[in-house]
């Protein structure tokens, strides 16, 4: 489901942000992201990456300038209309922000419940997605009892469960080893291939160079856009990509259960990102 290329999914115009009376964290930031695009958001820590993401997922309002999301000017949007927009944005928070008193299942189910999905739907989709990320045997576990990598997968499952049009991830590879990091990035690529616009904030220059997607670079509050050498596949016609995903689907169905503790099997699952179509 690829929207019109011309209509940006996120548009910033001369956006400035300051906290209280402090200096401007972001200065005259302007850019537009098109549906299906894949961007890295880079910059030193403290450059304003998280602030920029917060502006996009509507946790902050800009001090000046205009932001539009899905073609709607945020400043002109009544407060009541914001929740449905937030539901179209999936966020993988840097510190996961899982609810510790809820099971993995309930954490992932939250976005669907908030959107008043039917109980059976919730049951079906959450079970499928958790199985797909290798947490089939941990559905009832509470986040504190899970490992960092498992928590991260719960957080990602929660971000993608309601098939967001826009996926934001704040340092998703920050807390995990390189191998896991690439696995996760691969998952995001798979989602992007299906039409989700992706923005990943990272400080890993290695990751950015290896994948070669376009970059939004923040330095001292100024943003510059560096075009990528790779076109995200989400922007191109999807037809030629279908085979890969379909092939992988069978493999996971065999390997998914009981393999959560085996890194090799886990990697396969992420590499092929099979079954994405099944739950999405």
């Amino acid at each position: 489901m690829i929207a019109e290329i011309d209509e940006p999914i996120v548009r910033f115009e001369n956006v400035g942000l300051r906290y209280g009376l402090g200096p401007e964290v972001l200065r005259d930031v302007s850019f537009a992201l098109h549906p299906g695009s894949f961007h890295f958001l880079i910059g030193e820590s403290g450059a304003g990456k998280s602030s920029l993401l917060k502006l996009i997922y509507l946790a902050l309002r800009p001090t000046r300038g205009a932001i539009s999301l899905f073609g709607r000017d945020i400043a002109a949007t009544p407060r009541d209309a914001l929740p449905p927009m937030r539901r179209k944005v999936g966020v993988v928070f840097q510190e996961f922000k899982l609810l510790n008193h809820l099971s993995a299942f309930d954490n992932v189910a939250l976005p669907m419940r908030v959107a008043r999905a039917k109980r059976k739907e919730v049951e079906k989709h959450v079970t499928e997605l958790l199985a797909w990320v290798g947490l089939k045997d941990h559905m009832k576990a509470r986040p504190p009892t899970l490992s960092g990598g498992q928590q991260q997968r719960v957080a990602i499952a929660r971000a993608v469960i309601s098939r967001p049009s826009l996926l934001l991830a704040d340092e998703p590879t920050g807390n995990v080893d390189d191998q896991m990091g690439y696995r996760l990035i691969h998952l995001f690529e798979e989602l992007n291939r299906l039409g989700t616009t992706v923005i990943i904030a990272t400080h890993s220059q290695q990751l950015v160079e290896r994948l070669g997607y376009a970059q939004l670079k923040l330095a001292d509050g100024d943003l510059s856009v560096i075009p990528g050498r790779v076109q995200p596949e989400g922007l191109s016609p999807v037809a030629d990509r279908v085979d890969g995903a379909a092939k992988g689907a069978q493999e996971t169905k065999i390997s998914a259960p009981d393999s959560a503790e085996q890194p090799a099997a886990e990697e396969d699952r992420f590499r092929d990102a099979p079954g994405v179509e099944n739950y999405l």
Binding site: L58, R79, L82, M85, L99, H101
Partner: protein, 294 residues
Amino acid sequence: MILASRSDLPLDRDEHSRFLPWLIAFMVFLSILAVAGMLMLYATASRWDAGVRGTFTVQVVPTEDAAADEARLNEVLTVLATAPEIARYDALDESRLMRLLEPWLGAGAERGDLPLPRLIDVELKQGTDLTAANLGQRLSGRVKGVTIDDHRVWLDRLVRMIETFEALALVVLLFIVLATVGTVVFTTRTGLAIHREAIEVLHLIGAHDNYIARQFARRALGLGVLGGLLGLGLALPTLWMLAYLAASLDERLLPDIGFGLWHWGLLVALPVSVALIAMTTAKVTVLRNLARML
């Protein structure tokens, strides 16, 4: 609402709201006592009112001459006997009069020691509009020194007193409501602070304010109902005890409560109202708080 009692926030594990049911129980207890007292006063007043309405006390003021007084009394009684509006009349005899005065004069007082008026209880037929003034006119033509008391002054005072108590009870109720609202606001705010991070997540995931507020409202309703039942459980035995005391005491002092179904219904409605107040307060508090978020 649809999702029964499932909650995304662990509100039922909050330590700080544990005291709420007890506080609400206390409030419900007080409100039931206040309202029961009000109903009792009201019942008493109407009983007294009904007791003296349509009755007069005719007083034949005494003079030096006892024989003449007796003649005047008979004259009055003849007038009363011929009045078509009067259902019954009864001249109090001397011994009864002395008994009434006994508390002041002592048991040994003699009739002759002091001039006593003669009193006649008069009971009107229902639906007549004979006033004390009318009857006075009729009597004054034939007998001198007769006064008629329709108890208006005494009744008016009684009514004023009862109205004061009712106003007091209403003030007590108002305070109870304010205290309940204040406590629930405080408890809810604490809950909001404790669960700030979880609420933020729900908010960012796209939960409407109502979705979050409903969880707090449901919790407050639960605690309110529990508190209401506790309060009712405390108040009912107290009322029964009062009723028992009233029945065993001089019944003219404290009439037995004699509540009808309507009264009990009103008393049971109190805990229900307090629980609903708690729920609404929690909901409004959360909504107002969330409105500050983007």
